[in-house]
């Protein structure tokens, strides 16, 4: 046990998944329904290899313009990325024998807005993303810096943010009789909708509690801060993933953020266009292969991937063109989505690591930085193995 993590458990999982890759695959899911101006998200049962992890979490998200604003999708996304960065750090420290006193991650990003304060350029995704990491631990600066570099390569949500990726989106129209028709929605590059006049700043402030549990407070400014109590979230892993089930995990938070953005966006768009959708639901899902995350198999992606959404609308519409209308609306809504753009684009993040007494590291995390660091690790591993073989020892 170190930092509240069962590190023997981590090691055993690594061995198990090396021999049996099927146990490494985890599928997360959320289901979201629009109720008034809220998107109510229920985290679904996750499948981890050959067993299931039941989940018991519900979150309500709103847009920034809601009368009684709550957590907004961009805040949830910042929390999801930050939580993953934080938990991956805890794993890294624990495996290296570094005991933590405290760990905080502050995630900030901006979103360009038009003169009316609405998102001006969804294609930009989240801009100016940065992590300010503050660690208090007994370890050399070099060791602390190395863990952060590892995290930039292996944190699944950070990599989902960093890498150009794709997602799968389809729309389903359900009619009163229960008949449903499904359409795939093309992944389209969003376009700027209006000239940028200002920007929203999103902040997620994460504090490590113990183990994989982190407490998160978030903010968006300017605009809604004065109108609400700052929401506090708890993010944690399931007990099967060495947490204690205190909250949704970072991948579930990411699905929550994107599903809510889609659901709220579609609801607003349908209202604007006068399309009478009586029910809007979004099912989200994604896949994690922890062989990639733990660098067990270089061919496996470290990032959270195979992200997919099914948007389901109920409407009292009957003829074929209405299917097209709904699919077109979902397509437009996807094109207006800041968070889907994040998944699609290659992004960069500025990382700054500090301890109470010192600046330890600043780096710009992007595809080139990640591949250079991974190459360096692989080279070191080969050298270690060769040295061990020369010494007649058991190569690690």
């Amino acid at each position: 046990m170190r930092n509240g993590l069962n590190i023997s458990g981590v090691s055993e999982i690594v061995h198990e998944i090396r021999e049996n890759g099927a146990e490494a695959v985890i599928r997360f899911s959320t289901s979201t329904a629009v109720a008034g101006d809220r998107a109510e998200v229920t985290v679904g049962t996750a499948h981890h290899g050959t067993f299931r992890m039941a989940r018991d979490f519900r979150l309500a998200l709103t847009g920034a313009e809601a009368a009684d604003p709550g957590l907004t999708p961009v805040e949830a996304a910042a929390a999801a990325i930050g939580a993953c960065v934080l938990i991956t750090h805890v794993h890294g420290y624990s495996a290296r024998g570094i005991s933590l006193t405290s760990l905080g991650v502050r995630v900030t990003a901006t979103v360009p807005t038009d003169a009316a304060g609405r998102v001006a350029d969804p294609s930009a995704g989240l801009r100016d993303l940065r992590y300010d990491i503050t660690v208090d631990a007994e370890a050399t600066e070099a060791a602390l810096a190395q863990v952060t570099q590892f995290v930039t390569c292996f944190s699944p949500n950070h990599r989902a943010f960093l890498d150009a990726g794709d997602y799968d989106l389809s729309s389903v129209l359900v009619r009163p009789g229960g008949t449903a028709t499904s359409r795939p929605v093309p992944v389209t590059a969003p376009a700027a909708t209006a000239p940028a006049a200002g920007e929203l700043t999103v902040v997620a402030e994460l504090q490590w509690e113990y183990g994989t549990e982190a407490h998160v407070s978030t903010a968006v400014s300017p605009g809604i801060e004065a109108r609400r109590a700052a929401p506090t979230l708890v993010v944690d892993q399931s007990k099967q993933m060495l947490g204690i089930d205190r909250g949704p995990n970072p991948q579930e938070m990411l699905l929550t953020a994107i599903s809510a953005e889609l659901a709220l966006g579609l609801s607003a768009l349908a209202r604007e266009r006068g399309l009478p959708l009586s029910r809007i639901e979004v099912d989200g899902g994604g896949r994690l292969d922890i062989r990639g995350m733990m660098n067990v198999d270089p061919a496996v992606p470290a990032r959270f991937h195979e992200i997919r959404f099914v948007v389901r609308c109920e409407a009292d519409l009957d003829d074929d063109p209405d299917d097209d209308k709904v699919a077109a609306l979902v397509t437009e809504c996807a094109a207006n989505s800041t968070l889907l753009a994040v998944l699609r684009r290659a992004n960069t993040a500025d990382v700054r690591l500090r301890s109470p007494g010192a600046e330890i590291l600043t780096l710009r995390s992007d595809a080139a930085q990640v591949s250079a660091f991974i190459e360096q690790i692989v080279r070191q591993q080969r050298e270690q193995q060769a040295a061990a073989a020369r010494a007649g020892g058991d190569p690690a």
């Binding site: 023997s8 458990g9 660098n295």
Partner: protein, 428 residues
């Protein structure tokens, strides 16, 4: 204390994170002084020898009782604390002691399992295993035919812990399949139900669990590994009230869970918190009892088969429930239970519960008591004991008719048991 076998160095100062996590799962926990028998040896050989601790100082052929509740720290203990593998080093009574490891090794060998955990009762094993293998918000599919204590846990407490439970007919795979929900995590059943000895479709349950990523937890108390090894048929965890056949002498309350090291480690972690660990004397009694499991079970089975056949012909008996009889409704059990069906027989006495009560009064050999699986025959009526918490209608629904007698056939001479029962029945 010497170094435990399951104590390979974990990741450490000189071992870097990436690709260097050195510790995989190992069988055990066990000490180097413990005997590990080959898998291809027979039941009796394994039950006598597996796990025995051979004391290096004295050469004693049996395991000594280590009454100590705590163990001196050394580099291995410190290493285990540092690296997290504290299940593999003797530290503290509740965490794991040589006597627990001995008896766990024996049960694991008998159930073809990698690892086992000993508990202070069968209920401690069940509670701990079910809470371990589910999360808040999860769902368990089980049956109303399970042991009453288990039923109460499932009905009264699991929902309070945030685990929902659906009770199904345990013989009906369709009904069980239909009860599975997205959040279902565990299927929990007994290999042979109490008191009617209904058999569950075990291979199909194993297949369902595999297909749906569910964990199949099987209470094998009634059949014991001598008759059936559920892990071979797809179960993930097998549980016993070791109070019964495994202990075998009605002088011990204990439980065990067995399965892969992965699930046993998780169950053990929960045991540390819930606290139902088995003390050294209990372990010793269980180890001693297990040594004769095979020889006892052979006699239990033989006696039960003879009594079932005898009762089936008796004019005062209106029905007999036993897998050896031709009318047994679940004949497929014989496909996976080749060595017999344990020592339980239940039957209905003409004249209902009143007649059954008279019958008990007239018996001279079997003791009228609850429980089962001891060397002595025990007899009881479900209506006023194990199933008294059910309404008359609920009992009917389960198939419990007035006059039902539950007999745990002991290892006495079968002729004496038959004479005694015949006399008691005839005189009602």
């Amino acid at each position: 204390m010497s170094k435990a076998i399951g104590d390979p160095a974990g990741p450490g100062a000189d071992r870097k994170w990436s690709n260097n996590l050195r510790r995989g799962r190992v069988p055990g926990p066990r000490l180097p002084e413990q005997r590990v028998m080959d898998d291809d040896l027979g039941m009796s050989t394994r039950s006598v020898h597996s796990g025995t601790y051979i004391d290096p100082a004295t050469g004693s052929v049996g395991t000594p009782i280590f009454t100590s509740s705590t163990y001196e720290f050394n580099e291995h203990t410190y290493g285990a604390f540092d690296q997290g593998h504290i299940r593999d080093v003797p530290i503290y009574g509740r965490y794991g002691t040589p006597n627990q490891w001995v008896v766990q090794e024996k049960v694991a060998a008998l159930e073809n399992a990698e690892s086992a955990v000993a508990f202070a009762s069968g209920m401690a094993a069940i509670t701990t295993a079910l809470l371990t293998l589910t999360n808040r918000g999860g769902h368990i599919v089980s049956s109303r035919d399970v042991y009453g204590g288990t039923y109460n846990l499932l009905r009264e407490d699991m929902p309070q812990f945030g685990r929902d439970v659906t009770f199904t007919d345990p013989t009906d795979i369709r009904e069980i399949e239909a009860a599975v929900r997205p959040e279902t995590q565990v299927l929990f059943f007994e290999t042979l139900t109490n008191p009617l000895l209904k058999s569950i479709p075990l291979p199909e349950l194993g297949e369902l669990a595999r297909r749906e990523n569910l964990l199949l937890v099987i209470d094998n108390t009634f059949l014991t590994p001598y008759c059936l090894r559920p892990l071979d048929l797809g179960a993930h965890v097998v549980i016993h009230s070791a109070t019964k056949y495994l202990g075998g002498h009605s002088d011990l309350t204990a439980g065990v869970a067995a399965g892969s090291r992965k699930y046993m480690d998780r169950i053990w972690t929960e045991l540390l918190k819930l606290g139902g660990s088995l003390d050294a004397f209990g372990c010793f009694l269980l180890e001693r009892g297990l040594k004769t499991l095979a020889v006892r079970m052979r006699t239990h089975i033989e006696n039960a088969n003879l009594l079932a056949a005898f009762l089936n012909e008796h004019p005062r008996v209106t029905a007999v429930h036993h897998p050896s009889l031709s009318g047994y409704p679940y004949p497929r059990l014989r496909e996976w239970c080749a060595t017999g069906f344990g020592g339980m027989v239940s039957f209905e006495v003409e004249g209902g519960d009143e007649a059954a009560l008279k019958f008990l009064d007239r018996l001279t050999i079997p003791a009228v008591a609850t429980s089962l699986g001891g060397v002595e025959s025990l007899v009881s009526l479900p209506f006023n004991t194990s199933h008294s918490f059910l309404t008359v209608r609920q009992r009917r629904e389960l198939g419990i008719q007035p006059g039902l007698v539950r007999l745990s056939v002991g290892i006495e001479d079968s002729a004496d048991l038959i004479t005694d029962i015949d006399t008691a029945l005839t005189g009602i």
